[in-house]
Symmetry: C2
Subunit: 207 residues, 2 copies
């Protein structure tokens, strides 16, 4: 039930609407969780019913309203207890790897495309993450900067920023690792084609 923890955690950086949350989750990267608004709104209601968050409703036009949520002391306690328990690791599910190991009938062009897609995906991911990491470090992410500014002392301020840097940097490393792997695979494929006299493609490993 980590959607709930993502919501609680986000609300520790300040109040906000379901829409604000959805925007940060499913579009614009910078996040370790995603959810569409269809999951968010019902969950917010449920969490309010359980006292983890409260909301104030502001009328908009004649029939509509905008609801701003805020975390409660109970909610703070819940997110704190959750973060203080060691991480658990869900079972691995990796469609890319399944595609790879069962793609052994000999379509080498498809394999090449596979590795190139992989490389490109993680190049884009790395670039987005690097940009976001830079925004965190330079306090351009308003919610994170605010949370840091509200911290009780210098050590806490540093911690708020440092943990996010550590997290995003870890994901940058992951992306770089995937890029290297994809490039190793492409080199292996080149060699395989040469070895078996199948090298009919025009370009080498380069873009």
């Amino acid at each position: 039930m980590s959607l709930e923890h993502a919501i609680l955690g986000w609300l520790t950086t300040g109040p906000g609407t379901g829409y604000d949350l959805a925007r940060q989750l499913d579009q614009g990267l910078g996040w370790f969780w995603t959810a569409p608004h269809s999951q968010i709104y019902p969950r917010l209601k449920d969490m309010e019913a359980r006292g983890l968050i409260t909301s104030t409703s502001e009328p908009v036009g004649a029939k509509s309203a905008k609801r701003t949520y805020e975390i409660t002391p109970d909610g703070r306690k819940a997110i704190r207890e959750w973060t203080e328990t060691p991480p658990t690791y869900p079972p691995n599910r990796d469609g890319e790897r399944l595609r790879l190991i069962f793609g052994d009938h000999g379509n080498l062009a498809a394999l090449r495309t596979h590795f190139e897609t992989h490389r490109q995906h993680y190049q884009e991911r790395r670039d987005s993450l690097s940009r976001f990491l830079h925004e965190v470090s330079s306090r351009q992410q308003p919610r994170i900067a605010r949370r840091a500014a509200n911290a009780p002392d210098e050590a806490h301020q540093e911690l708020v920023i440092a943990l996010r840097e550590i997290a995003y940097r870890g994901d940058v490393h992951r992306a770089e690792n995937e890029i290297m792997w994809a490039e190793d695979c492409l080199r292996w494929l080149d060699a395989f084609e040469v070895r078996h006299g199948l090298a009919e493609h025009g370009s080498g490993t380069g873009e």
Copy 2:
């Protein structure tokens, strides 16, 4: 719907029962997908109804039966087409990272445990993967060895093993990357504690 592709792919290495499949998926690593038997049996029935697989039933005792499934030409076509389309990447969901970035209230002991748990998890994962990789390379994995042996020529035989080696080696690298990250984090935490005069713990970064 990758459970279906995992099933089809597995059946390309030979016929088997739902139980055999479940064993390889949810216990014993060596897999890029998992599912409990409660998901497998209904899915097998559904796939048989759609003509992707067929089964033969062997009576066991008076009231029970054991059902062995086999892939059909339609099933082969489906898995082949699927593997030949480029990989797609599901949205990222990472509870560990959520725990980390929202664990910024200053419980450094919890952070230490977090990083140590992370390191240990990936050390175990790396070791299991390495063992499995070795079993693949040395043809000790019977289903994979059989699939390689049945391949039409030397190039195909090599491909069956090589793709699996590539896949598992990629996951070994991932695990090693996580271990390095966790160790970086522990060193950062040591320095943080020293810098803020909070170094009251007994041991250093070492185990």
